[in-house]
Symmetry: C2
Subunit: 149 residues, 2 copies
DNA sequence: ATTGCAAATGATAATCTTTCTCATTATCAC
DNA sequence: GTGATAATGAGAAAGATTATCATTTGCAAT
């Protein structure tokens, strides 16, 4: 019925690799996530998923997102605003970080190897192995002419 | 009735300095916060505040905590677990950061000037002025003998 | 010290996000 | 294809936070 070489999204494959049952809904959500390069919250994911398969439930999106996070496929982020936001987890290469525009709320990703190793060193010196880094810096554009707040 | 040199807590003074009306409840909450060197959530703050003044309402704690945060007196933190936790905001000196023990959930504070300036530099290079840094690293004690996770 | 007014409070309802329940449906190994 | 097992849908429930509104309080001017 379907050729052996899967036409599935990278995340759907990852899902299978982790031994998770690959249901239609999970395939849809995995596709939507693979297709996203921003940081959607659950409601936004639900909206996008419904576009692909209208009979999906928001409860399933919550469930799947949690499952994917527990399996290292997704990372949960908190940028304020009260709801969790998600993005595809980084691979073997270093973490990436987030700069949040204080005025617009826009999220800008960045990487920095010096930061990677500095953090790793600090944590090691404290007697720990680094598991996760959660870093977001809030900044305000210099450009904006402000009346000396 | 009361001497001019206030016997209020440092945070109560700060509250007055910011032009906020200093009510009995705010004085109590400010005292409790000045007295805390951990990262209590609202319910825990409420518990401590009630010890001082039993007729305080949890709604007021929520309101006050929000007010203090908006005025730079408190900082809200998210260490996972679904509820916001608060701590007194840093003064002029550099921010401090948090290391969270992956196994116990214990929060360990640390400072690092190299990290301060590296972050400042990165943000500046991206065209922003640094407003806030939210950094928590999750780590696992090396000591713990684990069967090669 | 008293008064007046705007703002804060208490108690609870309402809201918002997330999780749970349970009957139905779909997946995967055989 | 069949069956056991797990996933889903829809809505209820839970947990955290905010809003409502009548009453009380702080504070500035008197």
């Amino acid at each position: 019925m379907k050729e052996p070489n899967s036409p599935d999204s990278p995340l759907a494959d990852l899902c299978r690799q982790r031994g998770l049952k690959l249901t239609g809904q999970r395939r849809t959500i995995a596709f939507v996530l693979s297709d996203s390069d921003d940081h959607p919250d659950v409601e936004e994911l639900y909206r996008r998923a419904v576009e692909v398969d209208p009979r999906i439930s928001i409860a399933t999106v919550y469930r799947t997102v949690r499952l994917f996070e527990e399996n290292g496929i997704l990372q949960r982020r908190d940028f304020g605003g009260g709801r969790a936001r998600y993005e595809v987890a980084d691979g073997d290469h270093g973490d990436h970080y987030h700069l949040i525009d204080a005025d617009t709320g826009k999220v800008i990703e960045f990487e920095n190897t010096e930061l990677d190793s500095l953090l790793e060193g600090i944590v090691r010196q404290m007697g720990y192995d680094l598991v996760t880094t959660r870093l977001s810096v809030v900044g305000r554009t210099k450009a904006k002419t402000r009346s000396r707040g």
